[in-house]
């Protein structure tokens, strides 16, 4: 009996001591800030028990805070934190300021820099539901990343409908790597790497494919890229890049709305010139982004019949419309606009011909 008691006490003491000395350090990567805008944010958090240590790509710049909510700190900011095993959300509010940051526990996938070097000089392709948060239902969108060298990539988006390539967009970006706790993160950026960029975690790397994990609109997104044996075919390639990595503003968030300078009648006349015909009646909605410089890209498509159900029209007509829209520069953008904008054009099909465009 005494022996049992001693054994029990010893076990209890050992467990207690282990619990007291154990420190849990977890690495979290910023998914985004402003959850409804999915704004890119380049930061990491290390969580050590109830403390958070913040650092960006420059590990020397540390900040720390306790994982508690504060009614008001010295800057009159109210801070609320919500931490689960997989996510930490921080909400900062004051009378004039509201900002939320969302960090996600990194995936348990370890690599060495030597392994990562294998992708240099190769092209990889993935398929996306939509790009730059521009709505899309019907287009097949492929993104190709060509790792030119250790500091540059060429990114190509190809828009296809029923195996017909409609349009291709290309951009060159800088690339940054970060190795943390043997986990590898990539960022693709223009100019200088800064807090408004996004980390993509490498979670799988094989001879012919790799995967990136990133986060958007509350969700974890896994993009699986497969090795291209040759360059994807291109059609009417345009150089286009978004100014920001976040949800573009809607066209009606401006006064007046961002629209074609010369009105819908002039737009219709321009876009139906030499337009192929199709079959039936219904609607075609072409979505796109107008970047802060007034250039058009990042397409999406929704085809509907007159009952507002999914439909299908001749890809030649869709191609004609997308290529026509891509050339438009006459948008009534506000003089000092700094944001990208989501705009869509809806076309009415009557007996196979385009008869109206709006909104």
């Amino acid at each position: 009996m005494i022996k049992t008691l001693i054994l029990f006490l010893s076990l209890f003491s050992a467990t207690f001591c282990w619990a007291q000395t154990k420190t849990e350090t977890d690495l979290y990567v910023a998914g985004y800030r402003n959850e409804d805008f999915n704004t890119a944010y380049l930061q990491f958090i290390k969580k050590n028990n109830d403390s958070l240590y913040f650092f960006s790509n420059d590990e020397s710049r540390y900040n720390a805070m306790s994982l508690h909510s504060f009614e008001k700190d010295t800057l009159d900011l109210k801070i609320k934190s919500i931490a689960t095993d997989s996510k930490i959300a921080l909400y900062y509010t004051s009378d004039e300021y509201k900002q939320d940051y969302h960090y996600f526990k990194v995936e348990n996938a370890e690599f060495t820099i030597d392994q990562v070097r294998e992708i240099k000089g190769k092209r990889y392709t993935t398929e996306l539901d939509k790009v730059s948060m521009i709505p899309n239902r019907d287009l097949k969108i492929q993104r190709e990343i060509y790792f030119l060298d250790s500091s540059n990539v060429e990114i190509t988006h190809t828009y296809t409908l029923n195996n017909t390539i409609l349009f291709t967009e290309k951009e060159i970006k800088n690339i940054a790597f970060q190795l943390l706790d043997n986990k590898v993160f990539f960022s693709f950026y223009d100019g200088e790497l800064n807090l408004n960029n996004r980390w993509y975690q490498l979670t799988n790397l094989q001879k012919d494919k790799f995967s990136f994990v990133h986060y958007a609109e509350t969700k974890k997104i896994v993009d699986v890229y497969t090795l291209n044996s040759s360059k994807n075919p291109e059609i009417n390639t345009s150089n286009f890049k978004m100014c920001w990595d976040n949800r573009p503003k809607e066209y009606y968030n401006f006064d007046p709305d961002i629209s074609y300078t010369h009105g819908n009648n002039a737009l219709l006349k321009r876009l139906i010139k030499d337009a192929p015909t199709t079959k039936g009646n219904g609607f075609i909605t072409i979505h796109f982004a107008i970047n802060c410089e007034g250039k058009v890209g990042r397409f999406g498509l929704e085809q509907m019949d007159t009952k507002y159900q999914s439909a299908s029209y001749d890809p030649k007509l869709i191609k004609h419309l997308i290529q026509g829209i891509s050339k438009i520069t006459e948008w009534n953008l506000p003089e000092k606009i700094q944001t990208d904008t989501h705009r869509f054009l809806m076309f009415k099909i009557t007996n196979g011909k385009i008869t109206e465009v709006w909104p």
Partner: protein, 285 residues
């Protein structure tokens, strides 16, 4: 026999368990009272209003509200706005049609009124606009009913105008004016109705009547002057009065630059004019 009973009981327990799990999946808020559900749905709805309308977060909150009160017509209709404004029309119309079906089955026309308005301006589906307006009036028995801030008859008349059925458009405007007079409202105060009435007469080549309504509106304090001058100028061209046409086009240009023109958020109005249209007319003089 005992073995049979044992199997039978087990099967019944299994079915009961599955049914219970399925029911929970169908409605996770079943345990809440009606008042509690409404309160919770209101909370989700309020939260949706704090985030960007076309964002995923907004939609999650809206869906949550509808999960709590699945047949709430107003929340269903308002949930469709996020999709409609983003141009995701299949989903928008799916939600709106459901809201209309529930609402009209209860003898209410609020959702249908909104649909009639959307059909005209967002979908340019003129036949549906006319059909929906007629149904609104049939159910509500109020001929001067409003459809999302505009007179339903104004929508119907514009739909006829867009279908090139100008006589029917004029008849509808005349009927609207009769109703307005009965309500003690001066028909001249309805700029849009008078403007499209003038445009309908123009399309029927009745230039004098068209000019009459345009000039009448030019004398009104709150009308939109650039469009009125522009279309008056076009009539004077057809009447071979180049001088008066020029005056109107130049006035249209001046007012356009002062932003005294049609300027509707979300959509472009029918026959709204742009600087190129004015310059083209001036260049032809």
């Amino acid at each position: 026999m005992a073995l049979k009973k044992f199997f039978l009981y087990n099967i019944l327990i299994f079915i009961g368990f599955c049914h219970s799990s399925y029911s929970q999946e169908l409605n996770p808020f079943e345990n809440l009272s009606k008042e509690e559900r409404i309160k919770l749905a209101d909370k989700y709805h309020d939260l949706s209003q704090t985030v960007y309308q076309t964002s995923q977060m907004h939609r999650i909150y809206k869906d949550s509200a509808l999960l709590v009160v699945p047949d709430h017509v107003e929340y269903m209709q308002r949930a469709s706005y996020s999709y409609k404004k983003a141009g995701e029309h299949i989903k928008a119309m799916e939600m709106l049609n459901k809201a209309v079906a529930i609402d009209t089955a209860n003898g209410s026309t609020a959702a249908l009124e909104y649909k009639a308005w959307s059909m005209l301006y967002y979908y340019r589906d003129y036949e549906s606009t006319i059909k929906d307006v007629d149904k609104v009036i049939e159910i509500s028995k109020i001929p001067y009913n409003g459809c999302h801030g505009e007179s339903c008859l104004l929508l119907k008349a514009q739909a006829y105008y867009q279908l090139s059925e100008y006589k029917k458009a004029i008849e509808t405007f005349d009927y609207l004016f009769t109703l307005l007079k009965e309500q003690g409202v001066n028909p001249k105060d309805d700029f849009l109705a008078n403007f499209y009435l003038a445009r309908s007469y123009f399309k029927l080549n009745d230039l004098d009547k068209s000019l009459f309504y345009l000039q009448e509106q030019l004398s009104m304090p709150y009308s939109v002057k650039a469009e009125l001058n522009f279309y008056a100028g076009q009539i004077y061209i057809l009447k071979n009065d180049t001088e008066k046409a020029k005056q109107h086009f130049l006035k249209a240009k001046e007012l356009y630059l002062q932003n005294d023109k049609m300027n509707e958020p979300y959509i472009e109005r029918f026959d709204e004019i742009f600087m190129n249209d004015i310059n083209l007319e001036i260049s032809k003089l």
